[in-house]
């Protein structure tokens, strides 16, 4: 609550160092992401214990519902159950990490409410460009690994580098594809960073502008931010899966008959969107 009553919102784009372990800098974003991981582990292990007891629990059903619907989405986009099962763990881990951290990042104890030597102690994990960029590189790297696994090493390179004498159009397309891979990585990380960081600034500014009416105005924006946090986590998950399926050869889905073909055509349309944005 102290954060909302302050005179002017303080905006820092980069995370600040809270303390050092040797020469390793521990920033406030890292502290909150460690807490987020602990929360995720606690939730999942509680759900696991409920499953083992064979009993029922709200948490267990919630986790199972989430996993099932995310798995269905993955199968729908990739179009191959075996590949989807292997892609799913990474994608759902990223989703959970961002979901829990986005929600933790706007709780009242983050920001300037709790300070340690005049430095905010906690800050949303995705409000740190380092985290989002690292995870975007991870997901794009996984997409490359899948492409190499399916096309072969030289087959993967042939997707980008085509001889201009054989096929001038595809050669130009391949060159554009190289640029697109980098811009996708940057856009993927900037999208979630911008939304989460922008959301935190928005809350601080609304709290500042509304001053004494903040208790009335802020809950609305809080609901908005909870929604945005969940949607952005889902978008990150969705794009990771879509980029991985982009690298898989088209012919593979054709071998599985018509029912595998149909979702693939729908998935291809979705994949075009991120490339343009």
């Amino acid at each position: 609550m102290i954060a909302f009553a302050m005179e002017q919102p303080k905006v820092s784009v980069a995370p600040e160092a809270v303390f050092h372990i040797g020469s390793f800098i521990v920033t406030n974003s890292q502290l909150l992401s460690v807490i987020g991981i602990a929360v995720i582990l606690a939730v999942l292990f509680t759900a696991k214990r409920q499953v083992k007891k064979g009993g029922r629990g709200r948490l267990m059903h919630m986790v199972m519902w989430m996993f099932e619907s995310l798995y269905d989405t993955t199968v729908e986009v990739i179009g191959d159950r075996a590949v989807a099962l292997k892609v799913m763990p990474l994608a759902i881990t990223l989703f959970l990490f961002f979901l829990i951290n986005n929600w933790l990042g706007i709780l009242p104890f983050t920001g300037d409410a709790l300070t340690y030597h005049h430095v905010a102690m906690f800050r949303g994990a995705a409000a740190d460009m380092n985290t989002t960029f690292a995870l975007a590189i991870l997901s794009m790297g996984t997409a490359q690994v899948w492409a190499i696994r399916r096309h072969g090493f030289f087959g993967n390179i042939r997707r980008y580098l085509v001889s201009p004498f054989k096929d001038p159009l595809h050669s130009f397309e391949g060159a554009l594809e190289i640029v697109a891979e980098f811009s996708r990585t940057l856009a993927l990380s900037l999208r979630i960073f911008g939304n989460v960081f922008g959301g935190e600034v928005l809350l601080a500014v609304i709290g500042f502008l509304a001053s004494w009416a903040a208790p009335l105005a802020l809950p609305l924006f809080y609901i908005l931010e909870l929604f945005v946090g969940a949607v952005q986590a889902y978008v990150f998950f969705m794009l990771t899966v879509a980029f991985i399926s982009l690298g898989l050869p088209q012919a593979e889905a054709d071998g599985h008959g018509d029912d595998a073909h149909a979702p693939r055509a729908g998935a291809k349309k979705q994949k075009q969107q991120p490339a343009e944005s």
């Binding site: 905006v11 820092s12 784009v13 911008g194 939304n195 952005q232 978008v235």
Partner: protein
């Protein structure tokens, strides 16, 4: 007058995104009008497409903030 560049950095991005969001919403409403049974799927797709468009405006906001606070 000093604040103008930062305001413009957001305003131009938001103007384009306004048009984009309008197109997404119009498309979703038309699709729902043609096929009301698919409303659930259309809503999911609409929110997904909106978040792609939204991201550009928010990147504009972040660029403005970075330019303002990282001098």
């Amino acid at each position: 007058m000093d604040q103008l560049p930062f305001a413009l950095a957001y305003a131009i991005a938001a103007a384009g995104c306004g048009i984009g969001l309008g197109l997404v919403g119009a498309g979703a409403v038309q699709a729902a009008g043609r096929n009301p049974e698919a409303l659930g799927k259309i809503r999911t797709l609409m929110i997904l497409a909106m978040s792609f468009v939204d991201a550009l405006a928010i990147i504009g906001l972040v660029v403005a903030l970075i330019a303002k606070f990282l001098k």
